[in-house]
């Protein structure tokens, strides 16, 4: 094995490149050279150009990244299907009870389900609920977890201790019990499923964000804000928050994948969506009993579900790989 493939090569590191030497404009005035001024302007334009070039490069690198592109195509495919499948496929709710559990054919590419509905149409339309639930639930979890994490990490001390103990309590509760209890309590609708999944993820998210805040609150710009007499809310929202977007985004993409999964599991256990939604988890749960005689009713939505989550994760993966280059 050659050196090029050695696992122990240092990662890309351009610490060297990052350093600058101070510019002192008044001193620059002393420069004898006449070309100096224009060069400075030139440098300005060059900087702008360089920024543009970098952006262009990133876009090109992303477009060239097979990981990212595969993920993007998959996700875009499902977004497209969620928006427009009604115009392409048959109706996902069109029942033809006399034609139930038919194997894939020219008329029904993916076959039909127990109520004689077109599995292709349902699989395509099934993207809708997931693409609504998962992102919104994730955002909700980020919002709540963000607030809790910010407050807890920013104030530290007793506030932090109390909040974290409460978060511990929530984490110690089995997710499935919490969701069953809440869903039984609030009933079922897309909105409630979103709220419940958001709530389920909140403790974990708040922990992540809390540790990011703790890392950030000791930074000097936060001290500077305090010396300026800024209120805590301002410091949290305007000073710290914009600087922890990276962990928030990372946490968000991880949660997004889990939100898809959780929504499916809740549907599967009968606590999520209700028929006739073509939701994948629900479909898998209800058609599961036909797996042996009509596997197409389960396998297509299962593959769809898997493909979407893989797609989301491929995008994340691709992005991080390109950015770290």
């Amino acid at each position: 094995m050659g050196e090029e493939r050695s696992p122990l090569r240092p990662g890309p590191d351009l610490a060297e490149e990052a350093s600058w030497v101070d510019a002192d404009p008044e001193m620059l005035e002393l420069q004898a050279d006449a070309g100096r001024k224009s060069e400075e302007l030139h440098a300005d334009a060059a900087a702008a150009l360089e920024q543009k070039r970098q952006r262009r490069y990133l876009v090109r690198a992303l477009l060239r990244s097979p990981t990212f592109m595969t993920g993007l195509i998959i996700v875009l495919f499902w977004v497209f299907m969620a928006l427009f499948s009604t115009f392409i496929t048959q109706s996902p709710t069109d029942v033809d009870a006399m034609a139930s559990l038919q194997a894939p054919s020219a008329a029904h590419w993916f076959g039909t389900d127990d109520l004689g509905r077109d599995v292709l149409a349902r699989t395509m339309a099934g993207a809708r609920t997931v693409l609504v639930i998962a992102p919104l639930a994730t955002m909700l979890a980020l919002l709540w977890g963000g607030i809790i994490g910010l407050v807890s990490g920013f104030y530290r001390g007793l506030t932090d201790e109390i909040i974290m103990r409460l978060v511990d309590v929530l984490l110690a509760l089995p997710i499935i019990i919490t969701s069953i209890l809440i869903l039984s309590l609030l009933g079922k609708s897309v909105a409630i499923v979103i709220v419940v999944i958001g709530a389920l993820f909140t403790p974990v998210v708040s922990r992540t964000i809390r540790s990011a805040v703790i890392g950030e609150r000791e930074r000097e710009y936060v001290m500077a804000a305090r010396l300026r007499g800024e209120r805590s809310a301002f410091v949290m929202a305007r000073e710290i928050l914009p600087n922890i977007t990276q962990p928030i985004i990372v946490e968000g993409t991880i949660r997004l994948g889990y939100a898809v999964f959780t929504a499916a599991t809740l549907s599967f256990l009968g606590f999520g969506l209700v028929p006739p939604s073509p939701d994948w988890g629900l479909t898998i749960a209800t058609e599961r009993i036909f797996l042996q005689i009509a596997p197409w009713t389960v396998l297509f939505p299962a593959a769809a579900l898997a493909s979407l989550v893989v797609g989301v994760n491929l995008i994340t993966d691709g992005l991080s790989r390109v950015f770290s280059k």
């Binding site: 493939r5 050695s6 122990l8 990662g11 511990d168 309590v169 984490l171 019990i177 898809v260 898997a306």
Partner: protein, 315 residues
């Protein structure tokens, strides 16, 4: 170190108290009541009322909680309202079953996923890395109810290689249990593989970027020595934490697997109890799961401390 453990164990008490109160309160506001659950839909209101009174289910919430909690801490966990069986042995047996299943699953999951993750981390950005990352990821997102049913069909029904249930018949030797547990453990493995492998990979990648790895390499150590002596131990820290947090889930979140493989674990017990207002059973099983969750996290932290002398000596 001992102080840390002691403190953590002490902290479990208020957490468990809060958990029990929360569960009690949530179960209280659920639609339906225990009398209705016992007597079924066709009983008259009067019958239900009488039964609820008999069971004391009509007393105020705090009163019931106090009497339940009083019994619980003194070791009297009561009888299930619905099944009329003593709660303690029922919960402990189910918990034991779940622990066996989860333990067996972890026995497969941990070495495999750590191996894959570390390997991917060492070969960061290589074809293999991508392959491992994407394939474990894909496995992770297949819900266990899909993989479980497919596996059951292939291996138990079609090929008849493995038993269809997760419990061996009575009187079978203990080791037989593992033969029966292979099939249910695989969907669990799928679920956890991607997650743990990912953490192991991230841990490895992060450690590889540390200056002390450069030191080790530039000392002229062989690659094997660098990986096993310097990388692995430190790379394991995030992985161990994740595994610790997953054990709780493995114990309490196995409802689907337990249902599919007809395994008398605590997940199903808990869900059933929640749905039938069997508060004493629900409380005991949830608390046990919470205890397992906290203990496994504590164990993970202890392992982390063992891996990291700074934490070990700081506490």
């Amino acid at each position: 170190m001992l102080r840390l453990i002691g403190r953590r164990l002490l902290l479990m008490v208020p957490t468990l108290i809060l958990v029990s109160i929360l569960i009690f309160a949530l179960a209280e506001v659920l639609p339906g009541d225990v009398g209705r659950s016992i007597l079924g839909p066709y009983a008259t209101d009067q019958q239900v009322k009488i039964l609820n009174k008999e069971l004391g289910a009509d007393r105020p919430l705090y009163e019931r909680y106090a009497s339940w909690a009083g019994g619980f801490v003194t070791g009297d966990w009561g009888d299930s309202l619905l099944l009329k069986v003593p709660v303690f042995p029922t919960v402990m047996k189910a918990l034991g079953n779940s622990l066996v299943l989860a333990g067996f699953a972890l026995l497969i999951i941990v070495p495999v996923s750590v191996l894959l993750g570390v390997y991917a981390g060492l070969r960061k950005d290589s074809f293999l890395d991508r392959g491992i990352t994407i394939s474990t990821l894909s496995m992770t997102v297949i819900p266990e109810f899909v993989s479980g049913v497919i596996l059951l069909y292939i291996f138990a029904v079609w090929l008849k290689w493995l038993p269809v249930t997760a419990m061996p018949p009575e009187g079978a030797p203990f080791v037989d249990r593992f033969y029966y547990l292979i099939l249910p453990a695989i969907p669990l493995m799928f679920l956890e593989l991607g997650y743990i492998a990912r953490m192991a990979r991230v841990g490895t990648v992060q450690v590889l970027a540390m200056p002390y790895i450069r030191t080790a390499v530039l000392k002229g150590l062989p690659r094997r020595r660098v990986i096993f002596g310097h990388v692995l131990r430190n790379a394991m820290v995030p992985t161990v934490t994740v595994i610790g947090s997953q054990v709780g889930w493995l114990i309490g979140g196995l409802v689907v697997i337990e249902t599919l493989f007809v395994y008398p674990g605590i997940g199903k017990l808990m869900v059933d109890a929640a749905q039938t207002h069997d508060v004493v059973m629900l409380e005991a099983s949830v608390l046990m799961v919470a205890v397992i969750y906290m203990v496994s996290n504590l164990l993970a932290d202890i392992v982390v401390a063992l891996l990291n002398p700074r934490i070990r000596m700081g506490g």
